[in-house]
Subunit: 129 residues, 2 copies
Amino acid sequence: MSFTPPTANAYASTCPTRLVLDRIADKWAVLVLGLLGDGPVRFNQLRRQIEGISQKMLSQTLKSLERDGLVSRKAIATVPVTVEYSITPLGATLSATVDNLRIWAETHMGQVLLSQRQYDATGTGTTAM
Amino acid sequence: MSFTPPTANAYASTCPTRLVLDRIADKWAVLVLGLLGDGPVRFNQLRRQIEGISQKMLSQTLKSLERDGLVSRKAIATVPVTVEYSITPLGATLSATVDNLRIWAETHMGQVLLSQRQYDATGTGTTAM
DNA sequence: TCCATTTGGTAACTAATGGAAACCAGCTAT
DNA sequence: ATAGCTGGTTTCCATTAGTTACCAAATGGA
């Protein structure tokens, strides 16, 4: 089942890996997957939790993730139509990695901001000197 | 030194983490960091290895990564000016995570493509059925 | 000598994307 | 009746990504 193509190489422009990487290396996808890792979530629930995301981007991100087989969509015929998004087994294999990315950002945010301030002031970072 | 801000939360739109995440969750940044992890590399060396990247995007990505303190730039006054890029200690802490992202894409590319084909044909993925 | 090629970029221009807001349908509560 | 919830789509504009051409300085070959 899980065939590992011998030629998969993200550095080759013709390799489809490039397209996949472009999808998953995405701010909104990382945030969405981070929330879905805890269990099924509804559309507007995601919208409220991911501050600043527009309906368009959320809808677009979820649709892409569904197409890629990372997220599954389930419409429930309740009073107002409820749509529930959950992570698929394939998506779960990616979950830990994107969580690490988000956690890295949260953890090292301060250091990055500091470096940016130094760069903007002197044109030199911490290590280059 | 390495203060971990108690309020760092990528889901808050006002948190700078969002900006940091947007930078590191980037196709080109992932590929650049992947190569720099093996040791210092020159500009055109990167350009040749990362097929399909333009000078502009490479230059822009490297500049951002340098500003963020993840990459250091060293210009050597050789015959034609050689510029060597290497990963910083801070960048090294991110390296493993972005490598995992790239490796995930390479490993699961086949499954993602399969899912895309199914979605495009039936509107349904592997798991939703 | 003169043109091609190397180095590492920048500037101009166009194609694609991101984000704000409006709009949609169906139903409910006031 | 009108404002609100559900989950979206559409439209528009600003920003960004990407392509191409060009730059300076030097070297190697014809």
